[in-house]
Symmetry: C2
């Protein structure tokens, strides 16, 4: 069923176009659905690498998701595969930090994670959108069970230290009030004939009816206290059972306060393509995916391998590396071809004889700095006290996010929050402190939102990606200028070397970018290998 981009045979898309032309749109839609392909996704089903020449070897640098996906597929296609990995574990940024784990950042600061059993934090990626078909498909094939990741929680908070006296507002209140005020204003101008020039009278009538329902307006098109608005923003006293069960409406926030608070900035993130519901997480932590690929590849991965030089010539690839368990050792791995998935932040410092175009591309992409803090608390007070099950609170404090766990609901015992997800300059300031102070700072900030923090805090860890020895950054930060000048050069195969990873994608920071870039790279590599074998 897969459709290699540009392959000679009739693609599904071409087939559908033919059906559309000859049999009309309804038939085409039927065919699209039955072909399982109603949308053009960057992932189009399991890759087809038929015809691998015998005894052809590919050396893969990095056992993150890009490197392991490539190794898995190339091995299955009959290639001889070896993977060199710096860490002692597979996964790279796909990683769950658990009680008993240790982590040492650049400079030698080591943290010992003291979370209770089964509790974890994902320092890297933590959610999978429904349309990231590549990674979802690997989860399925590898038997990694998924559960829903709660992205939007209408009962979580939007918080500004400069609005409402610092009191956090519930997401549902801000969302309902913004939507209601917008609907009321547009209804008002519509009824004042302000739309006459651009919208037909008939459509204006339909628009008004829709605004009333969508915006929870009353019969006069006003957004006011009452059942309609409280059925969105929540009640002063919610409806119940028995006597005295009658609900009491709540009081909406006025337009001016709402706009002034800027909290409306928190209400549409769940509408963006990558954060639309549903999202998923592997049961037990994001690292389960890397674990599964690592198990699958077994001895094909050599851990503790720090690559120091990458060399290619007409005959093949030669990579120098240090076995970190024997400091100062120098080992060599050889192969016919190479797929390098090392983050550009690190690759830029490793000698590699590629052409000037790829070299310039490698040097051109800065990396994002980010800190994630995991905090263990003595009890799940966010559920017990605040009725917050999963989801995210957003704040203008440097911690930016408080993420509540989307699993183990109602568990007795301790619980772990994402206590901070810090970007940019704030991240740099955080890493001027040692990890225990970063954790304490996250607790201090968070207690402005959850006063229970002070009483309930137990222990924490703080992972700074720009201080990570295996990534030295969170992800590649492309802008439109660097894309235009360097992206194709980065992705183009340079003699015997191809690059892959989230940095070689239009999905920066997403695992799907790593996987689709790896599949794209090995497909092109495979075609080149087959073509050269044909010539030989």
């Amino acid at each position: 069923m897969q459709n290699g981009a540009g392959c000679g045979s009739l693609s599904r898309r071409q087939l559908l176009r033919m059906i559309g032309v000859t049999a009309g749109n309804a038939a085409m839609y039927q065919a699209m659905s039955s072909l399982g392909f109603a949308e053009d996704s960057p992932y189009r089903g399991p890759i087809d690498l038929q015809g691998a020449p015998r005894n052809t070897s590919v050396l893969i640098l990095g056992a993150g998701l890009a490197g392991m996906t490539a190794a898995y597929e190339l091995r299955n296609a009959g290639y001889r595969v070896q993977v060199l990995e710096f860490n002692a574990r597979p996964g790279g940024r796909n990683w769950s930090l658990r009680g008993g784990d240790t982590y040492t950042e650049l400079g030698g600061l080591t943290q010992h994670c003291q979370f209770d059993q089964d509790l974890y934090i994902n320092p890297g990626p933590w959610r999978i959108p429904y349309h990231h078909r590549g990674i979802l498909n690997y989860c399925k094939r590898l038997g990694v069970p998924l559960e829903a990741f709660v992205q939007i929680n209408y009962n979580a908070y939007l918080h500004s230290s400069r609005a409402f006296g610092g009191k956090p507002q519930r997401y549902r209140e801000i969302k309902a009030d913004y939507q209601g005020q917008v609907a009321e204003l547009l209804a008002k101008t519509t009824r004042q004939q302000a739309l006459d020039a651009s919208v037909s009278r008939e459509d204006q009538e339909k628009l008004l009816a829709s605004l009333r329902d969508w915006g929870a307006l009353d019969k006069t098109y006003a957004y006011v206290p009452g059942d309609a608005s409280s059925d969105r923003r929540g009640y002063k006293k919610a409806p119940g059972g028995g006597m005295s069960a009658r609900p009491i409406p709540s009081e909406p926030i006025g337009l001016s306060d709402l706009l002034d608070s800027k909290l409306w900035q928190g209400i549409y993130s769940g509408d963006t393509f990558d954060l639309q519901t549903p999202l998923f997480q592997p049961v037990g932590g994001m690292g389960r995916i890397g674990d599964a690929l690592g198990r699958e590849l077994g001895p094909l991965i050599r851990y503790h391998a720090r690559v120091t030089d990458i060399h290619q010539d007409a005959r093949g690839i030669s990579v120098q590396y240090e076995d970190m368990l024997s400091p100062g050792s120098q080992l060599t791995a050889s192969s016919d071809w190479c797929l390098c998935t090392i983050p550009l932040s690190i690759l830029a410092q490793i000698p590699m004889n590629v052409g000037p175009a790829m070299a310039a591309a490698i040097a051109a992409v800065p990396y994002a700095s980010a800190v994630k803090v995991g905090l263990q608390f003595k009890r799940r007070f966010w559920e017990e006290d605040d009725d917050i099950y999963g989801g995210i609170t957003y704040t203008d404090l440097p911690i930016t996010n408080i993420g509540y766990p989307s699993s183990g609901y109602h568990s007795a015992g301790k619980g772990v929050l994402l206590g901070a997800y810090i970007y940019g300059v704030d991240a740099m300031e955080f890493t001027a402190m040692a990890p225990p102070e970063r954790v304490q700072k996250a607790v201090d900030y968070g207690s402005q939102i959850h006063p229970q923090y002070r009483e309930e805090f137990d222990n924490g860890v703080a992972v700074a990606w720009h201080r990570s020895p295996f990534a030295m950054g969170c992800y590649g930060m492309w802008n439109s200028d660097t894309r235009a000048r360097h992206y194709d050069d980065l992705c183009q195969i340079d003699q015997r070397i191809a690059l892959a990873g989230e940095h070689a994608s239009y999905l920066p920071g997403w695992q799907e970018g790593a996987i689709t870039s790896a599949l794209d790279a090995i497909e092109r590599l495979h075609r080149r290998i087959v073509a050269q074998a044909g010539k030989a």
Copy 2:
């Protein structure tokens, strides 16, 4: 911690008010959070029934959630409790229908559910909102594990048989386009000074900035094809990795088509208080809650008991019932007090000597008719072909809903959909057919949305609530007139008899209504019992 309505001691609310007056709002907020009570919920923590007089008996009619909650609490408080239940199982409308189960509706039509192991349909309630604290608390205390119920799926469909040639649209497309068009129109009128009379110039500037971000408008405040709109509605070709990974924007639907389709009616249900994310379901089916309560109560529940007469006098309660396993038998249960949770649809037909006010209330509430259809398919094509994991498709066809399972994602083997949730007149028409034809009709309708239905359908069940021998309806349909005239009379204790159930609540059809009404009723009953014992 609980705060009985109207109790003499200082309530939490009063305490908070005092703190607010003396120490200011910030301190009050702190106190509110640490008291776990930032909102007035109809459920205020475990009930306190201290001081139950020795040897006092309460007979409970019905082992649904209201009856079992009451039995559980009254037993724990020291009352002698017996429960009479018509069915052979606990739970009532809290019910999961599984492979191997049989179900016989009024008229004797019996269905044998043929679902595969671990697959089920919830004919009754299927989701628990985050703010239904009563039922959530019982799940926690009874050890019923929860998982997220996906209510909103941006990739599920909104479907009108009269719009877009019958082609289903993705939720994200309709939502993004409606929001974008509304934002564009309001931005336009704002810039044309149409708001000058009602909104300050400063707020207008802030409003414009918010509309651009919230509505995904371009720099000129237009909602047009491009990165901004595609990052909401989805792309023609989504971004990916490697070469040719550049995204291609999609084409928004025009305002007129959008309004004409009425599909905007499907985009705000997830904003309503009871359907806001997150919602939950017990792992393994909603019936796990009833099962847990039933296990807890054990021999206190007498099954197969059809109540035929309820009599009270100055000394106590006497209830006649038939043991359904011995047709024609007539048994008597006696007690001091009675909590009756039998649905009004059935209770109205049982002789019971209550006063005219309660009798009129019982007769006044009509019951909703509804049909739910569960369909088993040979594979989870909605995930495999359509990238729909959980959530609901809404259609103007009589089936109204297609609900995708929020569990077992990526499972191999068969899968079960909610194939229809039919209301009102359509429900009556459906039940004019025998169950196999209802199922076939649901398959026919659904195949207009998922053409795979025809190929993949395996078997199905259809539960018509208005044909249910134990409920004779889905839930009590109050309107504002019947509420005003009868609600208090229904809830008021009549001598020795109190009523409870979703019908005695402001949450019709919700399990939380049943539970909070039961707690409210037994609290009042307890106070009356204690008061009478004091007088005796």
